[in-house]
Amino acid sequence: MAHAPNRAIAVEPAPVHEPQPKPSRASLRGLDGFVFFVADVQTGFGPFIAVYLTAQAWTQLDIGVILSVGGLAALAGQIPGGAIVDAARSERMVAGIAIVLIGLSALSLAIWPIYPVVLAAAVVHALASCALGPAMAAISLGLVGHPGIGERLGRNARFASIGNGMAAGAMGMAGYLLSNRSVFIVTALLVIPALLMLVRIRGDEIDIARAHGGVLAAPRTGRRLSDLWHLGAQRPFLVLAAGIALFHLANASMLPIMARIVTTRAGDWATVLIAACIVVPQIMVALVSPWVGRQAQLIGRRPLLILALSALVLRGALFTFVRDPVLLVIIQALDGVAAAGVGVMVPLVVADVTRGTGHFNLALGMMGTAIGLGASVSTTVSGYITDHYGSAAAFAGLAFAAALSLLWMWSMMPETRPRAGIAPEP
């Protein structure tokens, strides 16, 4: 089964044999734990903020403003966040400051739910997250290097989704049994174990040049803007950015629309079913993402991207027709497949194409911007279609967008796995 490796292009003159670093067990377990607790902390933010502020007698208009400002800050902060991580001397320091800032945001939300504080907390959380994401990727790359990054990203995705899934369950319970406010206090407290895990990662094992994707880097020219341009002009990078923006355009509003349908149909069970719709994909990601990471090193990135996008197309198409709430939950497992595939492949391909440039994290920030744009268009477009033509039409539209992204990747995306990898000879 010779699977057309003729698409593989050498992005960098890269068949240099990078020695495989051997980070200590403590560092690797520390990273596992850090990724896990960061995911816990991030779960409290997001749609739950609206629930909390509603209970604090906020008007829907004010809540909308807060969410929009937070969303804009998250979009605008991606590229600067990546650039900061690229320029940083210590990735652990950046990650530590970011998670502390996020914890302080959660704490101030819990203590003073008044307008200026909440607005500031939303902006600080958004900006800190913009640095935290690339910083975790940089720590990973700095620890294991390019030869091990596929497997490591798979492992990160596993721990992140275990964290997300468990936190969603725990915070649902805390909100139900204690109070909405307790959710943010728990969130703030979870920063402490996150920091303890971060400290376990040995700083001297994170190779700074490697963390920025710059093992083969030539000396810095200092012309940052032209660096940015070169990065943006890389064809695989652009193809991926466009395809992934389209993916998120199709993906981002599927769960919210579906959850509202479950609310209309399921009555008493709706809350449990929606919780399942959130947790089931996380379990799926936890199960398959290490496999995805390993396969990416063996068979390449392209087939796995195609698999992930196909899962989204199928999910959108099934949502268009399926009415039974329980079946909807089962279909949600496909969300896990898509999320694992895209979640591992995007940073991996970015690591491939930025190898030797020293701009791994900046490129991640650019990719994050594309994702954010796709996701925000998704909500607007699907909201419009749902209002005018109903939810089935919205799902059909989203499935169509997913099919477009699949077609785009299928026809345009080259394989970016370095040829002289661990893989068997073609």
Binding site: T54, A168, A259, R260
Partner: protein, 160 residues
């Protein structure tokens, strides 16, 4: 099936509303002051009245029915409906639904539970059309008049 199109699309009415007689709190509204420059002030004890926004809504069977997020008033100053944010998990999947003012009971608003009681069940509320700002408002009425509101009503004319 009584659908009145206009500023409000209200499903009337008091058919089965005998069991949900709203108990209005005792204090009367302050008398509209005459042209005198000094407005009158009335002190209402907190055990009689409370702010409404963000209050939890519960059904007779103590089911969680969401929270009050807005109140709909008409041009004559009458309170027509409350908007509740219903359902969902951690903010995902909740829907805003307008319920008729008459199916709400505020007797528990100022006690320890501080909740608004709704004389409908989750099953009765779940399929109601969603409230959208700037669109005609479909108000969910008393238990007896639920059927007039199918989930999909294609004959919803724009108000303008």
């Amino acid at each position: 099936m009584t659908l009145i199109f206009g500023l409000l699309v209200a499903t009337s009415a008091a058919a089965g509303a005998a069991d949900i007689v709203a108990q209005e709190s005792p204090p009367t509204t302050p008398p509209q002051s005459s042209p005198a420059p000094e407005p009158s002030a009335v002190v209402i004890d907190k055990q009689y009245a409370q702010g409404l926004l963000g209050k939890e809504v519960r059904s007779a069977a103590n089911e969680d029915m969401g929270r009050v997020v807005d109140v709909i008033v008409d041009r004559s100053g009458g309170v027509r409906a409350a908007i509740i944010d219903f359902g969902g998990f951690l903010g995902v999947g909740s829907r805003k639904i307008a319920v008729d003012w008459s199916v709400l009971n505020f007797s528990a608003i100022a006690d320890k539970r501080s909740v608004v009681l709704l004389a409908l069940t989750r099953d009765q509320v779940k399929a109601a059309p969603e409230y959208k700002d700037g669109k005609p408002i479909v108000v969910l009425g008393a238990a007896g008049s639920l059927n007039p509101l199918p989930p999909l009503d294609p004959d919803q004319r724009p108000a303008k």
